[in-house]
């Protein structure tokens, strides 16, 4: 298993290194003085510029700069947001929780619904349900994420008025305890629905394709000819075999979940990473942006490794292959 992990881990590490290099070079390639960019676009004081220059070694040769950069990173220092002057790492950490709440809930719904729909449709390929759901997923694929959010907001918050527009809770009434949880939940409905709808086609396709392939395998015919009732075959053999690709898909998806949800968060004013990115863009808060970018790529890399382990555990073919 160690040898199998090796290859993907190396790719993951390389991609993180790529991000580091990109982060590093892009600031220095951009129009404008890197020091100014790192401090902020509004007129920085001379001392601020001096401070930044020293910290990143901007007056020293490139390789020294890079070493300093790496050194800062290793210490966990992603730089400070010019705006609030707090360390980027801390700021990201705060927002991450809100994003996770939204995206994980949406992911769960999308996976359950999509997989169930995919499996059901696979059993009756070309049937009415299959064509119907298939067409719907096709159309969903064409929706821009932010537009779908806006449309749901329009229908449910504006026209029907049954759900709140934005935010995470009703700030006018300061609910506590269970009432507060309900309030948050109510505010979650629209963004979660948007995300779940957007991710539904992905899981639908994967589980459907996996199930179609599994149903066509020879052992399925053997079991059926041997007389095993279809329900049993499905439950014990089809399901267990077809679920593997979905599991991998979920893990891979988890890696990219933050990027997908940023736009939806912005539409609904959800105080997570997405909105934070938006703010940082408008303020041109580069340290934050680069810090987020780095963090994302690291989490992707970590997820890739987790996926490999997971798959090796679930599929006896792989764990055996690497053992020998």
């Amino acid at each position: 298993m160690r040898r199998y992990l090796g290859k993907r881990t190396i790719t993951a590490i390389i991609s993180v290194l790529l991000v580091l290099v990109i982060n590093f070079t892009i600031i220095r390639l951009a129009p404008g003085d890197p020091a100014r960019l790192l401090v902020g676009t509004e007129a920085p004081s001379a001392e601020q510029v001096e401070l930044i220059t020293k910290k990143y070694g901007l007056d020293k040769p490139v390789y020294v700069q890079f070493l300093k950069y790496l050194g800062n990173l290793v210490r966990g220092d992603l730089g400070s947001s010019y705006y609030t002057n707090e360390p980027v790492a801390k700021l990201i950490g705060e927002k991450l929780g809100y994003t996770a709440l939204l995206t994980l809930t949406a992911l769960l719904i999308a996976v359950l619904l999509g997989t169930w729909a995919g499996i059901s449709c696979a059993r009756h390929i070309g049937g009415g349900l299959d064509n119907f759901v298939g067409s719907i997923t096709y159309v969903i694929d064409g929706f821009p994420s932010f537009w779908l959010g806006l449309m749901l907001m329009l229908v449910f918050a504006s026209v029907l008025g049954i759900l709140p527009y934005s935010g995470i809770m009703n700030i006018r009434e300061n609910y506590t305890g269970f009432r507060r949880v309900l309030d948050i939940a109510e505010h979650m409905v629209l963004p979660v629905a948007t995300l779940a709808i957007l991710h539904f086609p992905y899981y639908f396709r994967i589980s459907r394709a996996a199930m179609i392939q599994t149903l066509g395998e020879e052992y399925m015919t053997t079991l059926w000819v041997a007389g095993m009732p279809k329900r049993r075959i499905f439950r014990k053999y089809a399901f267990r075999n077809a679920i593997l690709p979905t599991v991998t898909a979920v893990s891979i998806h988890m890696a990219y979940i933050v990027t997908g949800s940023a736009l939806v968060e912005i539409v609904f004013g959800w105080p997570g990473m997405g909105s934070y990115v938006m703010q940082s863009i408008s303020r041109r808060d580069y340290p934050v942006l680069m810090g987020i970018y780095l963090m994302l790529s690291v989490s992707v890399a970590v997820m890739m490794i987790v996926i490999d382990v997971l798959y090796a555990v679930l599929d006896p073919r792989i764990s055996h292959a690497t053992r020998n």
């Binding site: 991609s15 290194l17 070309g126 694929d141 821009p144 806006l150 580069y286 987020i292």
Partner: protein, 320 residues
Amino acid sequence: MTRSNDKIAKLNENRHLKLSGKSPEKRERFLRHGRPHAHAHGARRKAVKLFIRRNSRLCTGLGMLMVLLFIAATAGVFSPYDPQALSHDMVAPPGAAHPLGTDGLGRDVLSIILHGSRISLLVGFTAAVISAIVGTLLGVTAGYWGGRVDALVGEFINAFMMMPTFFLILIVIALFGSGIGKVMIVIGLTGWTGNAKVMRAQAMSLRNRTFVKAAQAIGESRGRIMFAHIIPNGIMPVIANTAMGVCTAIMTESSLSFLGLGDPNVVSWGQLIYNGKAYITNGWWICVYGGLAIVFTVITFYLIGDGINILLNPKLRNVM
């Protein structure tokens, strides 16, 4: 097959057969299959109809593309107003003067939609073509050369693929400015990984084919083999992928505009939604029609890309 042909030809001369008067092709068909011939003139029309029926996605997509190209070409003719012209009729609901309403600054939504098609198509095509070129070059190098080159370039492709590219685009545009040209280039330079992987796979399978080995034996240079033999033969899946790439490019451009990083001087649907976001409650038509235009365009290219894939690999007909 020659044996059977000779035999049939010989039998044709035999007058015992009651087939005189019919053309040789028809006679042959009769002899072979014992059935009267099918109508020859209706066959072509039937073949086209069959093609359309079997490749419904591709043909629907192409039809929609025709509509889009028509709109883009004639936007100047059919737009009732200049899309960038401000007016006093702000956030006006759809009516006689403005069939799709106006936005916050009084600009006619219909005109914006018609003109916006140009930018979307332009950005889509350009970015997709750039990523196709970059991807094909990198992919064919990795796939055909193999060995250490593949290890290096292939790893690079994989690593790049893992990176969250949307954020990279965000940062680059934020740093370098949001002109539409820059947007196209950046999207193109980040979206090539899919094409690279496809081309690489094609190159790896093609390099073992006889005609490639023959070219190598003749002494053709590596470059010539790549450009004259491998790329042309492996290009079809890349074309399908590029169609999908157009979808992604259009979505990315509209997402960038929605975040405020779009080119404000250009008429784009994403920009329309960005400006219309604030009026979602009292001016729903701005965002709705802008979005519908995007959906229509994305689905068009998705159908085309999917359709080409199905054409290349009929087994995919079952896949949604």
